[in-house]
């Protein structure tokens, strides 16, 4: 018998007439690693909530069908015992931390289930050691980095010794390295502790092969499920963007044995043509450095407290009609750089030029007219009653009015039909676009975007990419921070890598991303040794076709 059985589960949130879960059937066995994917808003989070027993209890609404754990209906379970058995981790670590101190945070759940202090002490010490957090136990959670916070959250759930771990996009805030580390922990827990894991994650390439079973959802329904190989074969036709890039590449090549990992992919390349991986071939690099400087940063230093420099000796320029992406670990100073350029933080030293004009000391509202800055969190923008007012606000406060361009921007962002909706009623992706809209109305010719891809699914990311390309072609130069390497490889012209407040690499994306240890996209790693410059699927297909004739099996 399965550990978790979900039968005909249908669920409506209060005041909603479309079901968020629609007749879901799912059995999960003890010790299984289930990877749950699907487009944004398809009900992944809702399903996890249902399994954790939060759905009818916490949200109300209407529910039908049954969820049982260990052959007993969730409604019959004592909530305290259930919470001990099923641990859930939510998307945003900051919002689920309850206590001030790291130790207290981890002990919080244990206190709730009335574990005696002696036992509590042991468990807290154990999970702290497991995640290498022992040295931080006296810290204030507020002072931890994103990755550390996420680990504390994971530790605080594991301290309760759950049998099932539900993870809702646990790595969305993390840099590629920290994300990988967290996923490794999850995999280890599954392999070594036999923990049952249900994972929702947007980083498909890093999770697909970890799972025993992939469950694909859309519009509240489970559309397909099976082991990763079966799903990859199916999804390659139906939802080609929801499989790892390596699989996407070979899916157009050989539909029978689609590789899931780089290792398999490379083996396959070698089998197609032995010795291929040792042949050198290169895609020519376009010469980028010939644009006009839109924005120039020279010798920039910045600090929040006049003691520790967060930014050290930064020099770079943005060219006209280009998209530049900044990559770098959490806390590298990426956001700080954008804040400094947009005038929110006064540089300790150095200058910023816009179109050759020194704008270093100007007020943020003056700079904002030419240099649009979109911060990390779209929610910080939304306080007006309708989308239209929200977007208009920037003009109104400057005493300007330009209904035409507002309409044009809403059209561009695909928000024309949402004009009169309260922005707080929109989904995450739509909020992101409204926030972007507020920045665009003053028609800046430089755009600074801080992690605009956060929490977006593949589809939405693609849409955003298209919008950015339109803007670029209209003459805007864009500087964007992201942790999403594949997205960066896809849309950027140039890539800057920051580490510990310094720029450690800056140049054409092909030069910078290729062969980078952490930031190389999957396709690039696949072709390592033969062609260091390929970054995306279209290019690599071309290369492959040059070398070997395409087999006729491809439809």
């Amino acid at each position: 018998m399965a550990l978790l059985e979900i039968e005909n589960l249908t669920y409506f949130y209060p005041e909603r007439d479309i079901p968020s879960l629609d007749n879901v059937n799912l059995h999960i066995n003890e010790g299984e690693f289930v990877f749950l994917i699907g487009p944004s808003g398809c009900g992944k989070s809702s399903l996890l909530r249902a399994i954790a027993g939060l759905l009818p209890d916490f949200y109300g609404g209407k529910i039908g069908g049954r969820v049982s754990y260990c052959q007993r209906l969730l409604t019959r379970w004592d909530k305290k015992l259930l919470a001990k058995e099923v641990g859930m981790i939510f998307q945003d670590p900051e919002k689920q931390i309850v206590m001030t101190g790291v130790e207290q945070e981890i002990a919080f759940g244990l206190e709730n289930v009335n574990i005696p202090p002696q036992e509590m002490r042991r468990r807290v010490a154990e999970v702290l050691a497991l995640f290498g957090l022992s040295s931080l136990k006296g810290e204030n959670t507020f002072n931890l980095s994103g990755g550390q916070k996420q680990k504390v959250v994971l530790a605080s759930v594991l301290a309760m010794h759950p049998r099932v771990l539900l993870l809702d996009e646990p790595t969305s805030q993390l840099d590629p390295l920290a994300a990988q580390e967290l996923l490794n922990y999850v995999q280890r827990l599954n392999l070594e502790w036999g923990l049952t894991v249900v994972l929702v994650e947007q980083r498909i390439d890093r999770c697909f092969h970890l799972a025993d079973r992939v469950v694909f959802m859309d519009k509240g329904r489970v559309i397909n499920q099976g082991n990763p190989r079966e799903i990859v074969k199916w999804a390659a036709k139906e939802y080609p963007h929801y499989i790892p890039p390596v699989s996407q590449l070979f899916a157009g090549w050989d539909t029978e044995n689609i590789p899931l990992t780089i290792k398999e992919g490379r083996a396959m390349l070698s089998s197609i043509k032995p010795g291929l991986l040792r042949e050198k071939d290169t895609v020519p690099v376009r010469n980028q450095d010939e644009g006009i400087d839109k924005l120039k940063v020279s010798n920039l230093y910045a600090s929040y407290n006049n003691r520790d420099f967060i930014l050290k000796k930064l020099n770079f320029s943005l060219f006209k009609e280009s998209i530049t992406v900044i990559l770098g670990e959490n806390g590298a100073g990426k956001s700080t750089l954008l804040k400094t350029v947009s005038g929110l933080l006064r540089p300790a030293k150095g200058r910023v030029f816009h179109n050759g004009k020194d704008i270093t000391g100007l007020k943020p509202e003056q700079i904002a007219v030419n240099i649009g800055y979109l911060s990390q969190n779209p929610n910080d923008y939304l306080f007006n009653d309708t989308v239209l007012e929200e977007v208009n606000f920037n003009l109104k406060i400057r005493g300007r009015r330009d209904d035409q361009s507002v309409d044009r921007i809403l059209e561009l962002l695909g928000l024309a039909d949402k004009k009169m909706v309260n922005p707080r009623d929109l989904s995450g992706g739509e909020r992101q676009r409204v926030a972007l809209g507020t920045v665009l109305v003053t028609q800046p010719d430089v755009l600074l975007l801080d992690e605009p891809t956060r929490g977006l699914d593949v589809e939405l990311k693609h849409q955003l990419g298209e919008i950015l390309k339109v803007l670029r072609n209209q003459g805007t130069s864009i500087l964007m921070i992201t942790h999403d390497v594949e997205f960066a490889a896809d849309i950027s012209d140039r890539v800057i890598i920051m580490s510990d407040g310094e720029i450690v690499a800056d140049g054409d994306k092909r030069v910078v991303l290729a062969n980078s240890l952490y930031y190389a996209p999957q396709i690039n790693r696949l072709f390592k040794g033969t062609n260091d410059r390929v970054l995306n699927i279209a290019e690599s297909l071309q290369i492959l076709q040059k070398i070997v004739a395409k087999p006729s099996v491809v439809s």
């Binding site: 709730n112 807290v124 509202e365």
Partner: protein
């Protein structure tokens, strides 16, 4: 804004109950006593305790904020009252208040009241610097488990929300809102969207917080407590002398030695050598924790023992 700083000193190592009792004895003692010699003794004790708690400089800094209040009270006491016999200055008649006068007695009384308020403020500054809010909360949670959780949640939320507030403010600045120009009403009006945006975001976040609490088994019966604070010898010693000091103080009150006559004419703060003895005993007992703090710093051996 200030955040509690952990430091390695005797006072911070005491049990929250001991610290609360110390505060209680000092504040209540100060309120019921009007004898300037006892008050001066208490003042000196508090200052030395502040020094032992490595907080003398922050005491000086904080005092500036309270100075207005202390001075105003001294002035009121000096001007309003005209019961003093030795009139030094007789001022104009003011409606409601009658004639303003200054007499020797009212000056003395004003000074003593100023001293009193100074002691109360200083004692609280000491308390703020040595009482670890987490520890206080763990004691509090024995009696009020739910409310203690509420306090903990609110305390945790404030810095995060502060950060959010700063972000929202920055964004609005970029959007063209001006905070530092314009008149009084203008400036308030420009800050209003801040509150609105912050309220909207934090209400949404409160859902996540609640979910996280619920998913970690909150509200299902009795809670245990992670912090177990032990009562050490130092606590027992310190408490003993506090209680002793308070007992002697009460006795002194009954004998009439804790108060001083101000009106119509100043009495003498000291009536006999016995009186002096008693004052010394009160202040000395109160002073014992400071001595212990000093020993704690000097001798590691003592630190291990108590």
């Amino acid at each position: 804004m200030y955040v509690f700083e952990k430091k390695d000193n005797f006072f911070q190592s005491l049990h929250p109950i001991t610290l609360l009792s110390y505060l209680f004895v000092i504040v209540v003692g100060t309120i019921i006593v009007s004898n300037p010699i006892i008050l001066a003794g208490i003042m000196v004790t508090v200052i030395l305790a502040l020094a032992a708690a490595q907080s003398l400089s922050s005491w000086m800094r904080s005092l500036r904020i309270y100075l207005y209040m202390i001075i105003m009270l001294m002035i009121i006491n000096t001007l309003i009252n005209n019961m003093g016999a030795t009139v030094l200055w007789s001022g104009p008649i003011i409606p409601i208040f009658g004639r303003l006068t200054i007499s020797l007695e009212t000056i003395a009384f004003g000074l003593v009241m100023g001293l009193r308020l100074l002691i109360v403020f200083s004692a609280f500054i000491l308390y703020n610097r040595v009482m670890d809010p987490d520890k206080a909360l763990s004691v509090f949670s024995k009696v009020f488990p739910r409310s203690a959780l509420l306090v903990a949640l609110t305390t945790k939320t404030i810095p995060y929300m502060g950060q959010q507030l700063q972000r929202v403010a920055e964004i609005q600045q970029c959007r063209g809102v001006q905070y530092h120009t314009g008149g009084y009403v203008e400036r308030i009006k420009n800050r209003l969207p801040l509150i609105k945006a912050l309220l909207l975001s934090s209400l949404e976040d409160s859902f996540n917080l609640g979910e996280s609490i619920q998913a970690r088994a909150y509200g299902s019966g009795p809670r245990s407590s992670y912090y177990t604070l032990s009562f050490n010898i130092r606590d027992v010693l310190a408490l003993f002398f506090m209680v002793a000091s308070f007992a002697v103080l009460i006795w002194a009150m009954i004998k009439g030695w804790a108060a001083m006559e101000f009106y119509p004419e100043l009495g003498s703060p000291l009536s006999s050598s016995e009186h002096l003895m008693m004052i010394c005993v009160i202040v000395f007992f109160l002073f014992i924790p400071v001595i212990m703090a000093w020993g704690w710093k000097k001798w590691h051996y003592l630190r291990l023992k108590i």
